[in-house]
């Protein structure tokens, strides 16, 4: 045997050159996105701005977020997805406000939503702890206003004429009308509603598309409507409740982030969808340059909310309803 054969064999055994090595590290790309989306340390190098109160507050919030991200990374990486459920939940967590510092969601609803409205489009943007909610079609989400900004703990409401009202704190609004919208938006941005749906969906299927994206599809349980209703009623402010037997679908991009999710009733007459965009790159939400201090008298009286109808369930035993159970 040649004396240098050992080193030749050693170099040949280099795992970096083994077939499949590149594929085995592909999932680390999600780690890169998650770490780089963390807002925590980004402002650190801006030492000349570090003394500003705004950035001090951001730094404190970011420290908590980094801790959360660290835990998320450890949990996510140490438990590789064993099923479509785990992979779907992972994508939701990676795309949520807990993991990404900013994002935009466009909500589209069709069907009986309430107060005679049958379709609606509105957007939610978040950046750090700040959030912007558009009132959407016919101003259903924020009756009497076009937009709501929750910035730095304060509230800014944009009237339909374009002018802005400012309230120092959310409780100053003295009305339950706008608080549910804020809570609902935060719930959606945090991915709570999506996680609930995933957890309750039956027979979740995972299909990888030619473009590298992955489609998850499942069915809303036929038996117990309570299982598919949100754990609190905040999400119903923006999304109609889809009855049992409905279909759920979620598309995750090749980068591991959610691109779109939707729910449709079993008969296809109603549904909602959320398109995700500018994840990690949504611009900061800034308060308006001019505004007037609002008073409780500036707010309209909340109209009586109609009960949002739930679409009828298919008959038990329908062939459309799978019998497979979730995890």
């Amino acid at each position: 045997m040649p004396t240098d054969y050992s080193l030749y064999a050693l170099r040949e055994a280099n795992p970096l050159n083994q077939p499949g090595f590149d594929e085995s590290i592909e999932h680390y790309n999600a780690l890169r996105i998650r770490i780089a989306a963390d807002p925590v340390t980004a402002p650190r190098r801006l030492s000349h701005l570090a003394g500003r109160p705004r950035l001090i507050a951001l730094s404190a919030a970011a420290a908590a977020a980094l801790s959360l991200a660290g835990v998320l990374i450890a949990v996510t990486l140490s438990a590789a997805p064993a099923s479509a459920y785990a992979a779907a939940k992972k994508a939701i967590a990676a795309s949520s406000a807990g993991a990404l510092d900013s994002g935009t969601m466009t909500l589209t609803s069709r069907g009986p939503i309430g107060r005679g409205i049958t379709s609606m489009v509105n957007t939610i943007r978040w950046n750090g702890d700040d959030i912007a909610i558009a009132s959407g079609t016919e101003g259903r989400v924020l009756p009497g206003f076009d937009q709501l900004l929750l910035v730095g703990g304060g509230v800014y409401l944009q009237r339909t004429d374009g002018s802005w009202l400012h309230y120092a704190r959310q409780p100053d609004l003295k009305t339950p009308l706008y608080d549910p919208a804020g809570r609902s938006a935060r719930s959606l941005a945090a991915g709570s509603r999506a996680a609930e749906i995933i957890a309750s969906a039956y027979g979740l299927q995972k299909t990888v598309q030619p473009d590298g994206s992955t489609v998850y599809s499942g069915t809303i349980p036929p038996s117990d409507p309570a299982e598919v209703a949100p754990s609190d009623d905040t999400a119903t402010q923006m999304l109609p409740v889809i009855g049992p037997g409905g279909a759920f679908q979620m598309t995750v991009g090749s980068d591991g982030l959610v691109r779109q999710m939707s729910e449709t009733t079993f008969d296809g007459t109603a549904g909602w969808s959320i398109e995700y965009s500018q994840l990690g790159s949504t611009p900061p939400i800034t308060p308006p340059s001019t505004f007037t201090e609002g008073t409780p008298g500036d707010l309209p009286t909340p109209p009586q909310e109609e009960v949002v109808p739930t679409t009828p369930a298919p008959q038990s035993g329908s062939s459309d309803v799978p019998t497979e159970t979730g995890p």
């Binding site: 050992s6 040949e12 770490i35 340390t41 980004a42 980094l66 990486l77």
Partner: protein, 195 residues
């Protein structure tokens, strides 16, 4: 309320930081994964270590040296992370023993090394193995290895020379044993035999 100029400064700095981290990650993730893979006792530990290395790099991006020197910095960080992890595993193992629990076995069967090479590497000390693999697999220069292992470059050169000789001897010895049909103990992952 921030002015638009300050916002632009913040946005530019964040974008620049992310670009630099992205480049650092893309250029080095394969090497760091491979390094952690042969040193960590299990795939879960490997993934934890890689995540920790790049989280530290993101947190301390200003401390990461520019250019080629970043690679040695990352390997040095990975080495420290794996050392902390090994100590934690030892503590956990002792706790498990106290509690009467069985330690979780490392997952075997995913090691890509051909048996003879693996056997020969397992016969080396961890220090010899590390200096040898950093040079032969990861392509680090003696000066870079010195940075990783925190010792003079001249020491690395001497150690690398001796490690090559010992590996060759072990490799040929393993080959002879295999030819003679003698059983050889094969660790699933190289790092497991020495914490």
């Amino acid at each position: 309320v921030r002015g638009s100029g300050e916002e632009a400064d913040v946005t530019d700095a964040v974008s620049e930081r992310r670009r630099r981290f992205d480049a650092l990650f893309r250029e080095n993730v394969a090497g760091i994964v491979a390094y952690c893979r042969w040193r960590a006792p299990s795939p879960a530990d490997e993934e934890d270590a890689v995540a920790e290395v790049f989280l530290i790099a993101w947190r301390r991006l200003d401390a990461v040296p520019p250019g080629e020197r970043a690679r040695a910095w990352l390997y040095a960080t990975a080495r420290r992370v794996l050392s902390h992890q090994a100590r934690a595993n030892v503590r956990r193992s002792r706790l498990n023993q106290k509690l009467g629990a069985q330690p979780v076995a490392a997952q075997a069967g995913d090691d890509p090394l051909p048996g003879r090479v693996q056997d020969a590497l397992a016969a080396l000390s961890l220090r010899d193995r590390e200096v040898l693999l950093l040079a032969e697999w990861h392509g680090l220069t003696p000066a870079e290895i010195a940075t990783v292992m925190r010792c003079p470059a001249v020491t690395v050169r001497g150690r690398l020379h001796r490690a090559r000789l010992r590996f060759r001897a072990a490799f040929e010895s393993q080959t002879s044993q295999r030819d003679a049909g003698a059983p050889v103990a094969v660790p699933a992952r190289l790092g497991r035999c020495e914490p």
